[in-house]
């Protein structure tokens, strides 16, 4: 089914613009046209379908469901819901406070918030179409594991000590109170309401991500056409241990979301950058971004904020090393 997009790019670039597939610009532009048309078409269809299915899932319901769950399963559930629940990153703070004031442990809340930017339907769709299902499954597993283990760690060090005073107080006063489920009993949605929700959601998400697709695919296309085959392999690919932490550090100032980064991943991997290094770089770009961390300052003290940041950088580095070791052996 994806061949249509290749054919379209062939026609436009090789026939209409008569650029040669061997030329740098020809190969870059072909990549750009093929990937943007494919991604845009898939995005519109898939966002609609996914939104339709999950129209009745929202952060309030997730909170009611998670509160009172035992920690042993809470981290996994928090992380899983983080992956599938739709919410805008500008709502991270109210979501954090809503969970915390319902008495949900900070670790479980953070499992939810850490996994959320890493895994979403747009990211999964892009991974599937650009890098295949094996890579996609691996990516999902890592995203969930990073959220879960991060959450466990934060509870082990009693992260709730380092919340801002009002948040810590809300968490304390929720302890020992029997959890009451509030807004969980919404009536079932009819088809008309589902359609309306899915339509607005598709418009919202599309308007938010289209420029990231252009930037990401544009960068990927330049890499594709201008970096010689195997360049990374001969320069970085020998599994030098420091290339992974270096990639993680490079990812910090680059602020992007998963949509912009995945097309770049595709090019990096096909040009011979080791899978682990690529993953580490991309996850760091997506999840460890200063603008979002600064927002969390409103509910956390610097100490906790710095701890989470360092924890993320370490876990991405470990992920990178593990994958490089496995893919080399």
């Amino acid at each position: 089914m994806f061949e249509y997009f290749t054919t379209f790019a062939d026609l436009l670039i090789y026939d209409l613009l008569s650029l040669s597939p061997e030329s740098r610009w020809g190969s870059s532009l072909h990549f750009f046209v093929e990937d943007t048309t494919k991604i845009f078409a898939l995005l519109i269809v898939m966002i609609y379908v996914v939104a339709w299915v999950r129209a009745s899932l929202n952060v309030e319901r997730v909170r009611d469901y998670l509160s009172g769950k035992h920690r042993s399963i809470g981290y996994l559930l928090g992380s899983l819901f983080g992956a599938i629940t739709p919410f805008c990153s500008c709502s991270s703070i109210p979501v954090f406070l809503g969970f915390t004031s319902a008495g949900i442990p900070v670790g479980i809340t953070m499992a939810f918030l850490l996994t959320s930017p890493l895994i979403n339907e747009v990211a999964i769709l892009l991974l599937l179409s650009l890098l295949g299902w094996e890579f996609t499954l691996m990516y999902i597993a890592i995203g969930i594991a990073v959220g879960m283990l991060g959450g466990v760690f934060l509870d082990l060090i009693h992260a709730e000590r380092w919340l801002q005073a009002f948040a810590a107080k809300a968490y304390q006063s929720a302890q020992g109170r029997v959890s009451t489920s509030s807004g969980g009993d919404r009536q079932a949605l009819n088809l008309e309401e589902r359609h309306r929700f899915a339509k607005t959601e598709t418009q919202d998400i599309f308007l938010r991500v289209w420029k990231w697709v252009f930037i990401g695919v544009g960068l990927g296309a330049l890499l594709h056409g201008f970096v010689p085959e195997g360049w990374f392999e001969s320069n970085l690919g020998d599994g030098q241990w420091w290339s992974v932490p270096a990639a993680v550090l490079m990812g910090i100032p680059l602020y992007s979301n998963a949509t912009g980064v995945i097309p770049v991943m595709e090019s990096l991997i096909t040009k011979g950058l080791p899978v682990g290094t690529t993953l580490a770089f991309c996850m760091s770009t997506v999840a460890a971004s200063f603008p979002e961390f600064i927002l969390l300052k409103q509910v956390m003290q610097w100490r906790l904020l710095a701890t989470i940041f360092v924890m993320l950088l370490c876990s991405f580095t470990v992920v990178g090393w593990l994958f490089n070791v496995f893919s080399f052996s």
Partner: protein, 77 residues
């Protein structure tokens, strides 16, 4: 006069929400006072988890998206 508070972290949708309410109330000739509130603590106290949210005379009436014209008309008239 109705006191309307729009809760939100300053994202585009929250600003839009306040504008829409302002526009519709002036169209209808209803006197309202609109304030924007970005404090996380205030949001928590109203139990708001998705923004933009709207509070009218101390009661939370809406959260999660830009309200529709019909909803706004119902609140202020």
């Amino acid at each position: 006069m109705k006191q309307i508070i729009v809760l939100g972290s300053g994202c585009a949708k929250c600003i839009k929400t306040a504008e829409v309410i302002e526009k519709i109330s002036s169209e209808l000739g209803v006197d309202v006072q609109i304030t924007k509130e970005a404090s996380p603590e205030v949001m928590m106290n109203y139990g708001v988890m998705s923004t933009p949210a709207v509070v009218i005379d101390g009661t939370l009436v809406h959260s999660g998206r830009i309200p529709s014209r019909d909803e706004i008309t119902a609140w202020i008239s």
